[in-house]
Symmetry: C2
Subunit: 348 residues, 2 copies
């Protein structure tokens, strides 16, 4: 189960999720690359005290996961759910404090001492900012942050100095990819200090046509200004993508529908399928749902499948750790999930 | 409806149909290329008198179709059902006497004055020979055949002289194609005086992996000898094809099943499909049925679809004569037919 995906999302026909990440460091310690094990442990304890063992109203909502104590498979699942980063998964001296509903994850001793992440389904960047900001305030009351009056928050990597904030929107842009507009979008975003990147592969090769819009600059701008820029570009992208979808449907109607229904047909019948192919077929099905061509499934169900068909989730569900066997189990899982949706709807 | 396909067939897991064609000419007329219109008409009348207007037991089973009187679409359908040839469809001075159950078609004024064809589903070459031979005897009693004591039956083209017989077996050889053995089979057959040809395209490019085994020689051999050779090679091919299927299933089980189920998934979901792609996907589904992977459809239903998805049948059913619109109607037809089969079986 992917809890954060169960929440309400807004404008989810193009936007999959919204995320805020704040990088913070303690003033009394070296950055993590020069941290001794006992210092690393002490930082984890300080964060746990502030969040879990303190008197805060949210203390019961969090659990602390020590990376040294959980196995590779569990880390893989947290990673695929976007709750931890690849870097922290490799570290033995780090922890993640994860909120019950999975909307907040506080990574300790990643590249920075603290990385606060807030993640919501749909176009909910303000909600993500609100909760990340609250957690940040709560921590700032109890621990000493490394902060410079002129520069702002100090971070291990200079690209994060200032606000320490990375805001991002995950979007599904299949029509812009199909029409070959995506590389232009990527370049244009770059020119206004934003980055558009494929989540699962770069540029027009991005699997599932899933992209992330995020700020490149953290310094010299206020948080609200950065958020405004990202929301502005996201709204433009939403409208461009919707235009491109209408164009495709109007001008290539039958070919367009054919591609969508064939994708669903293959997903519902394949006996073996790798995650890349499944991502791309699911992307077509998601588009079909959003365009009203497929009306017995929900777009959010496909977002869930995007995550669940990844290798660690598949291994956890099926117990298969060989790629070949996982492909068979993945096909089985997709057949089951996609027929279930239809049956459920038929009963309604 | 394709009546001849409704009859019983034997060993139909590889053999689709068996056919005998006898070429005969009248002694009192020029060959068709030098025939005047009134002579052509007179030949048609002689055949009609012998078969339809005579006292024969079968006279009520036949109807005579004058090629000048039926439209292009109807000719196309007879052609796709394998009841007339491409040559006769182009001629205005010819006719086809077709038996009600479509197992026998007597073409008049094709390349020869008379071509008797008998066609059965499955491996029933002897049945086809029996009925063609009986029709031949019946005609020979009433009309004067061009016959030479030394050469046998005289025909317009020297390649048919002698028995005037072309016997053929239509086979589905997808596993031999898949394993790349088909070109070798084609050459080997050639060396023993038999020809193996793709029905819808040549060699390994044959659409739907459907091939016809037939004799190349008609002279200097008795009918029984020719039939024996063809049956012998056919039996070998059946056993080679079945071996190849087992090999594929044993060694590429999951990939093999995946291809079959995906083919069915695409056929059941496509919104537009041309006849070539449909032929190849149906061929995979037919293989799946014959291997017991798909148990809610019948192989003969696929044989029927092979014919029904051809352009003239599609045009007749849908009224669409533009290729693009036919592709849409074909996809619609396939979805309907393939879901029907499943529902019918679920009720059993």
């Amino acid at each position: 189960m992917i809890k954060w995906l169960e929440l309400d999302g807004a404008e989810s026909e193009v936007v999959i999720s919204s995320r805020i990440r704040l990088a913070r460091n303690f003033s009394g310690y070296n950055f993590t690359n020069k941290l001794k094990p006992e210092e690393a442990e002490s930082i984890i304890k300080e964060v746990e005290n502030a969040i879990i063992y303190g008197t805060s109203a949210i203390r019961d909502d969090f659990k602390s996961l020590r990376m040294a104590e959980i196995d590779k498979l569990e880390k893989g699942i947290l990673l695929e759910k976007h709750l931890i980063s690849r870097d922290i998964a490799k570290s033995e001296l780090s922890a993640a404090l994860v909120k019950d509903d999975e909307t907040v994850s506080i990574m300790v001793n990643e590249e920075d001492h603290i990385r606060i992440q807030a993640l919501f389904p749909g176009f909910r960047l303000d909600d993500a900012w609100d909760i990340a900001d609250k957690i940040d305030d709560l921590l700032e009351e109890r621990v000493g942050y490394a902060f410079d009056e002129r520069l702002g928050y100090l971070t291990a990597c200079p690209t994060n100095v200032g606000t320490g904030m990375r805001a991002s929107i995950m979007m599904h842009l299949p029509a812009l990819v199909e029409l070959g507009y995506i590389d232009g979008v990527l370049k244009a975003a770059n020119q206004i200090g934003l980055a558009v990147r494929g989540i699962y592969g770069e540029g027009s090769q991005a699997k599932g046509s899933i992209f992330q819009i995020s700020n490149q600059l953290t310094l010299g701008r206020k948080e609200e200004e950065i958020l405004g820029n990202i929301k502005g570009l996201s709204k433009q992208l939403i409208s461009k993508e919707l235009e491109a979808r209408s164009f495709l449907h109007k001008n290539h109607g039958m070919k367009f529908e054919d591609k969508i229904y064939r994708s669903l047909g293959i997903l519902k019948s394949a006996r073996t399928i790798d995650s890349n192919e499944a991502m791309n077929l699911l992307s077509n099905v998601k588009l079909g749902i959003e365009m009203g061509l497929i009306d017995d499934m929900k777009s959010r169900e496909i977002d869930k499948l995007f995550i669940e068909i990844q290798p660690a989730h598949q291994q956890s569900m099926s117990g298969q750790n060989k790629a070949q066997e996982r492909d068979v189990k993945r096909a089985e899982y997709l057949r089951k999930e996609l027929s279930q949706n239809i049956n459920e709807d038929k009963e309604v």
